[in-house]
Each structure stands twice: as C-alpha cells, then as structure tokens.
C-alpha cells in the first residue's frame, strides 16, 4: 500500500502541474481539468492496488486524462451545457477582480499562448503542449497513438506555423502603431 502511495506521491510532485495545464488547455475549465487529473491519479492508484504492472505511469495517466476529457466534453455537448467558468486562469486572480464588473473581466484579451495556439490544429497543439511539458517523442507518440516520426513532423509544422503567426502579429502591431500617429487625437 505504501509503495503505491509513494509512487503516486512521486508522480504527483513531478507531473501534476503539467497535467493540469494540459487538461485545462483541452477543456477550457479549471475545475474540470483538476477533477479529471485527480480522477486519473486515483485510477492509477486503484490499478496499482489491484496489482497491475504499468510500465510507463506518466503516459498511462496522460492517456486516462485524455479519454476522460474527450468523454466529458462529449457528455457536456450532449447535455447542452457549455463548459467554462469565470474561474479561468485567462482571467487572472478572480478573487482580486472582485468588484470589477463581469463585463470588464470578459473584456480582457486572450493571453499570448492561447492567442498563438489558435493557428494550430488540434493534434499539433497537443504535440506542442506535451513537448513543452517535457515529454519525449516516444512518450508523446504512445500517448497519442501515433508513430514517433509523426511527432517530429507535427512539431516541425507547428513551430513553422507559430513562427509565421508571431511574425504576422508583430507586423500588424507595427502597422497599427504607424497609422495611429497620423490621425489627429480624438480628445
């Protein structure tokens, strides 16, 4: 029993944050992400107790998370309820927002990462997220059920797209700045 708990402890300390971030990006809801990751760890605990031998616990847990996420998302879709809450890290420090009215909170822009990732396909996004959380190609591949070579392909393509998007963004801002100086002030 202690052994299983210790294993869970180790995994939690090294991977919990990464997994929550991953689940959050996939679901868009903090509570749902935390819940799903908790469940996955617990499932691992159950499996360990039942004596299952799991070669790569990290990938195993990620796989559970992924299934849970897609299951819950489809459930939510069926039930017609939109996931998402104000308790979202895109709106930082929800407690501190306090009396700032909801409209102003919703008015906040998407953060840089979220905005950047809009250009990626679902698979590319997943690969980049997993890579950035420190997974090896082999682990990503086994988690997504693709060949390790494909991981490289997706990653290369994603980086290229991100670069193009970032450049475009930058040039747009520069342009906007120039235009702004020519027009008289409205005040």
């Amino acid at each position: 029993m202690d052994e299983a708990l210790q294993k869970v402890c180790e995994l939690f300390e090294s991977w919990y944050s990464a997994m929550v971030r991953y689940a959050w990006r996939a679901t868009g809801s903090v509570e749902l992400a935390e819940e799903v990751v908790q469940e996955a760890f617990l499932e691992f605990c159950r499996a360990a107790r039942a004596g299952a031998r799991i070669a790569n616990p990290k990938a195993w847990i990620l796989c559970v998370i992924r299934h849970q996420v897609s299951k819950r998302l489809s459930q939510e879709k069926d039930s017609g309820i939109v996931i998402g809450s104000l308790d979202d890290p895109r709106f930082p420090h929800p407690d501190c927002l306090g009396q700032v009215d909801a409209a102003a909170a919703l008015d906040l822009e998407l953060d840089d990462v979220t905005r950047l990732f809009l250009v990626l396909s679902r698979r590319e996004e997943e690969v980049v997220l997993l890579r950035i959380e420190g997974l090896k190609y082999r682990e990503i591949a086994s988690h997504l059920g693709i060949a390790p070579k494909t991981v490289g392909t997706l990653l290369g393509r994603a980086l290229r797209k991100l670069r193009a998007a970032a450049q475009e963004d930058r040039s747009r801002r520069v342009k906007a700045g120039k235009v702004g100086n020519d027009i008289p002030e409205p005040l």
Binding site: D95, L155, G156, R163, E185
Partner: protein, 707 residues
C-alpha cells in the same frame, strides 16, 4: 556540394531535440556544417522554441495554493482507496460477498438461500449489479432522449430516524423541456400549499417563489450559480432542518433536465470505497423488481443510496438516501408517483409560467422577522454567545457579506443576537437566509438568533428609507472631463500594446493601438483603478470592523474556535488587501512615473499617512488590531487620492501635478507597508496560535455553518 537536398523541418527539430538515431544525427550534423539554408531554418525553429518556452514560463497556473489543495485531496482519496480493504474495489463491479458469517445470520442466510433458490428456480438468477446499473442508465437515456417534455411527480419523505423519529412529507412536481430549455418545479406541502417553486419559461427568464423569504414571487437571474446533486443531501448532518435546507438548494440549482435516478446512482457508485449490492425487492402488484444499493462507509459515517427498478424494463420507481453517524440517522425517500413523456403539442406553455394568482399578490409585505424565532428562556452563557456571534460573522464573511453589504451582527441584552441588514435583491436574501437557517440548526447556537434581513424591494414596498445607503456597484466614470484624462491618453497612445502597467499576464491593460480607442482605453483604465481602490477599501473596512469589535477585548474571552475563525477572517482580508494594493501599484506605478513629470523618487517626501513612518509598520509590540487600523488608514488614503485623480473630485487643473505626485509618493511605499503589516499580522497570529492547545486548532477550515 552545389546541388544538394535539404532536410525537412521534422528532421531538423528531431535533431535539435536529440531524437534521431546516432547515424542519422551525425549525417544531419555534417549537413548543417555545409548548408546555410538548413542552418538558418534550424536556428529559426530553435528561436521559436525559445519564444514558446518564454511564453509558457510566464504562466503561473496552477499555482502553489491550488497544487497544495489538490495534493491534500488526492492523498486523502488515495488513502481511502488503499485502505478500503473490506470492500471490493469498484473496478470489478459485482455483488458483495458477506464479510463474516455468524451463526444466527448464517442460518437466516441459509433459509434465504433456500427461499431464493426456489424463487430463482422459477425466475432465473438475478443479474449482477453492474448490469442493472447499465440497464437503468440505458432506460433513462432512451426515455429522455425523445424530443418531448417530461412530467415527473415525486412524493418526498424526509425523516430523521435517530435520536427521535420525525418525518415530513411533501411533494415535488417537475416539468422539463430539454429541447427548448424550459423548466418548472414546485415543492408543495401535502395540503397543496406552495413552499418553493421555480419557473423558467425560456432560457433568459426565471421566476422564483419562496415562501420562506416572505418575498412572494420574484424574478431571479436566469442561471443558478451552483450545481448541486441530489447525493449532496448526504453530506449534511442528519437533522431534518438541514435536510430541508439542502433539498431547497438542490431544487434551486435544478436546470432544465428531468431528474434521473440512474445518473445520480452511477455518480455515487463511482465514489471511493463504494460497494454495490443487488437483491430482489418486494412488490405490491406482483411484478418483479430489484433493489440496487450502493453503500459507502468511512470514518464513522455510513451513506447508502438505494434505487428500486422494475425487473423487466429497468424503470426506476423509488430512490432513497439513508445516512447515519454514530448518534444520528436520517433518510430521504423519493417515491415516483408519475414519470411520463408529454408530446409538445399537448403541453400547455402555462406550466412554465408562474401561477397567475401568485402574480397578483406580488411582493407581499410581511413582517420580515424570520425563521423559528424562539424566545431565549434561559440566560445563555457568555462563551456560547461569543461562539455563536463569531460563527455568524464567519458565515457572513464566507458569503462576502462583509465587503460593503450593510448586514451586521448585533448582540442585544437578554442573550440575543440579531443579524440585520438590507440586501440588494430577493435572491441574495434567500441565499443568506438559507445559510443562516443552516447555522441556526446547529446545536450550539441555542436558537437565540434573530434574523432581520430585508431586500431593497421590500423597503420600497413598505416606503421605508433604507438604514444605510447600499453600494450596488463601484463608481464609474464615463463622461466627466478629468484633468488627468489628456495625459493618460497621451501615455496610452505612446504605449499602445498592453503597456508595462499590465505586467500581470492576461491583465489586458488598456490598448490604444487605434486612436479611436484611446478614449475608451482611458475610461477603462480609470474604471479599473477605481474598482481596485474601492475593493481595497471594502477589505480595509472589513478589517477595521473586526479590529474595532475584537481588538480591545481580552483574547482569553474568545474560545479557541472563535479565535481561529477570527484569524482566518483577518488573514483573508489582509491577503486580499495586499493583493489589491499590489495591483493598484502595478497598474499605476509606471503611468504616474511618466505622466507626473516631476521626479518623485521613493524618498521625495512621501507624506506620512497615518502619522507613523513606514518603518514602524513592523513594530512587534503593536497589537494586531493596531495593524489593521493602520492598514485601513493606508487604504483609505489611497482610495481618496485615486478618487481625486480619476473620479474628478473638484481638482483644479493647476493642482494636477501636485496630486499626481502625491499619489505616486503614496503608492511607492504602499506595497512595502502592506507587506510589512501582513508579516506583522502573520507573526502575531502565529504566536497566538502556538499558545493555544494543539487540539483546539482545527486543521481544515470547516467551522460550523461552512459552505
């Protein structure tokens, strides 16, 4: 090599990530030495990786406090899973074997086996629990997927079984139309008097009738804030009043879906350490039925959820939750009286609209004194009063009522405590009343709490002036021509991107990329600053009230639990105040430094705010209440200055520079001062905490009446 092939992005990034085989890696390396194109592309990819990494490194999610909470929860749950040896892990989902066989039960069991053998000899074996759960879910899925509306009627029997038997019977009728998201629910006494009802004729409108709040019928916000499952009833103490309050919460949170026993059962059965069992159930009409039960027993608490289903169709007909602790036991039973699908063309839209007779006597002005007012017959000991008062304060704190809502806790002569105040609407009133009613049911309060909370609507109805003005929303500035406006506009035009003032990620500071937006950006910026300052002042006021109430009282007069609650509240407010102060500083600091013109350094004579130099903030001899009052003075000063600048309180143009300088000077040490105060508070409260006996300090913040 003049004509050469190049490597793909995929190969290059794999090479950079060290994911190529040794031979391939050497090849690519060699190629890169000769090929400028590939080297450039590899460098671009690498640069993009750096940028991504930087963007991600700036993320603070999930943050240490969330991780801590998750860790605690997970390990507790893991322990439950690992220690649940007596129960079969749910992964196998089967009928529970008996744990121990004693003689008398064994004989009884043998008799049952013979009887059941005869029964099943004719009828066939009972299916496993997992099959019935699947069947039940399948039935509900099929039944409720029709494009129709559903009508359900349940008899609800809430009963306290131990220590004494008390029972209340009521009736719930639910209409739901998932396709059009319409919904209506009525909770009635057996005589037909309406206790609570909610109507949602379309997704945008919601009406509520609540007899308990004496508010009659009132419109409520379209979405309910929390989602409550019927199983959450079992999280209550097994006391009838608490059960009713929880049931009301469940009704209030209901959405447009029909009630499903199967989903609730499935959700419950997925909990840790839950064991399933199935047995034939007796039926009156001669049909066959199964009783499916899920039992969770942990740390002296036993919760059992039972569903009875028809053996042929898996249609559920009864569900009950029974839960018990060592001293108490209670049960909530739902008997299905009706459950049918109604075709839309036969459905009257009127069922989703409030009853006309209720509409007629809209807010009935009634005496607002409420629930279960009992005269205090015996003099109550001071300690009990103290504890009750603190619990009430904490409850209001949890409901954020201490932040500017005019609700107060007053102790009156004769051992009574009165909670009185005015809230913004009926819904808020209902929320507070429900929470207070739960607290009143707690044994230690002795029932001597009088509640007098009114909604503004009631006051208008009774033509009474509200006792205090109600701050509904923070001050907003849109039109008035502020002297600082032009400078702010110039600043924002100069820093069109989310400027340095939006250091915190996602702050989404005022952007003024397009000059047309500058005005709007200035307004937004001002509003945000004012909101933050207002918020900080609200927190500071809450601190001040606590300090004034409990600062001078000898600490020994407070019991350990009260002391702990006080600490929690003070810490909460202080932390929020520090966070707000920091945000104001982060938002305003760079702006003021630039538009102020005159060089105000940290030492440029910050006017002493409360008559004490900043260094004195950490004076260990000062009491916590003094620290709170000092924090209040600082927040008040900041609030004044911010309002003078951004809300245009009679500030002549020529004094603008002075005002900007003053605010900048006041802001500079603010951060440090708040932090100093917080540290001091922390030190003192920790010292106090250590002095208490360890048993008196509860580990988890779960005082009575906690949410």
């Amino acid at each position: 090599m003049i004509f050469q092939n190049h490597y793909s992005d995929a190969t290059l990034i794999s090479y950079l990530d060290g994911e190529l085989s040794g031979r391939m890696e050497r090849r690519v390396q060699k190629h890169l030495q000769t090929c400028w194109k590939c080297r450039t592309r590899a460098a671009e990819l690498e640069q993009q990786v750096h940028e991504l990494e930087r963007a991600f490194a700036a993320q603070t999610f999930p943050g240490p406090s969330r991780i801590d909470a998750a860790r605690r929860r997970l390990f507790e749950r893991c322990r439950t899973v690992l220690e649940a040896r007596d129960w079969q892990p749910l992964a196998h989902w089967s009928v529970q074997p008996p744990r121990r066989i004693r003689l008398a039960p064994a004989l009884a069991a043998a008799a049952c086996v013979v009887a059941l053998g005869l029964w099943f000899g004719l009828r066939g074996p009972a299916p496993e629990a997992v099959e019935i759960v699947a069947g039940l879910q399948e039935f509900e899925r099929a039944a409720y997927s029709e494009p129709a509306a559903f009508h359900q009627v349940f008899r609800v029997e809430m009963a306290e079984i131990r220590p004494r038997r008390r029972k209340r019977v009521s009736r719930v009728e639910i209409w739901s139309d998932p396709g059009r998201r319409r919904h209506a629910a009525r909770w009635e006494e057996p005589g037909g008097e309406l206790l609570y009802a909610v109507w949602r004729p379309d997704p945008g409108r919601r009406w509520v009738y609540d007899r308990a709040t004496a508010a009659g019928l009132y419109p409520a916000s379209a979405e309910s804030a929390e989602r409550v499952s019927i199983i959450d009833l079992a999280a209550q103490e097994p006391v009838l009043e608490q059960l009713e309050a929880a049931f009301l919460r469940w009704l209030r949170s209901g959405d447009w879906r029909p009630v499903r026993f199967g989903s609730a059962f499935y959700a419950f059965s997925r909990r840790d350490g839950v064991a399933l069992r199935v047995e034939p159930a007796p039926t009156a009409g001669g049909g066959r039925a199964y009783r499916l039960s899920a039992l969770q027993a942990s740390s002296g608490r036993r919760v059992e959820l039972v569903v009875e289903v028809d053996a042929e169709t898996y249609r559920p007909r009864l569900q009950y939750i029974r839960f018990e602790t060592a001293q108490r036991a209670a049960e909530v039973r739902f008997v299905v009286e009706r459950s049918e699908a109604v075709r839309r063309e036969f459905l009257r839209a009127a069922v989703f609209e409030p009853d006309p007779r209720l509409r007629k006597r809209l807010p009935a002005p009634r005496p607002a004194v409420r629930p279960r007012e009992r005269p205090a017959t015996r003099p109550r000991p001071a300690a009990e009063l103290e504890r009750t008062e603190m619990a009430l304060r904490y409850l209001l704190h949890q409901h954020r009522s201490c932040l500017g809502e005019p609700v107060e806790v007053v102790r009156e002569s004769g051992g009574r405590i009165r909670v009185r105040g005015v809230v913004r609407d009926f819904e808020r009133k209902a929320e507070l009343l429900t929470a207070l009613a739960e607290l009143q049911a707690a044994p230690f309060t002795g029932g001597g709490v009088e509640v007098e909370i009114r909604a503004i609507g009631e006051l208008i109805e009774q033509n009474l002036p509200p006792e205090e003005t109600v701050q509904d929303a923070p001050v907003r500035v849109y039109t008035s021509r502020l002297p600082i406006r032009e400078r702010l506009a110039a600043y924002l035009r100069k820093h069109p991107a989310p400027g340095p003032e939006a250091e915190e990620k996602g702050e989404g500071g005022p952007t003024a990329a397009d000059p047309g937006n500058v005005g709007e950006a200035v307004t937004r910026f001002s509003n945000r600053v004012i909101s933050l300052a207002d918020g900080a002042l609200a927190e500071a006021w809450a601190l001040r009230r606590l300090a004034e109430r409990y600062g001078s009282a000898p600490r020994r007069a407070l019991g350990p639990e009260s002391r702990w609650l006080l600490e929690v509240m003070v810490r909460d407010h202080m932390a929020a105040l520090v966070a707000r102060g920091r945000r104001v500083r982060g938002l305003l600091g760079p702006v003021l430094a630039e538009i102020g013109g005159a060089g105000e350094g940290p030492e440029s004579g910050a006017p002493s705010v409360a008559g004490r130099p900043p260094g004195a903030a950490a004076d260990p001899a000062a009491s916590w209440s003094a620290a709170c009052l000092q924090a209040f003075q600082r927040a008040k000063r900041m609030h004044e200055l911010v309002h003078r600048l951004f809300a245009g309180e009679d500030l002549p143009e020529d004094r603008l520079d002075a005002a900007v300088g003053e605010l900048a000077a006041a802001l500079l040490p603010l951060d440090r001062e708040f932090s100093g105060l917080e540290e001091q508070l922390h030190r003192e409260l920790t010292r106090l905490g250590r002095r208490q006996p360890p048993s008196a300090r509860p580990e988890a913040p779960q005082p009575p009446g906690s949410k």
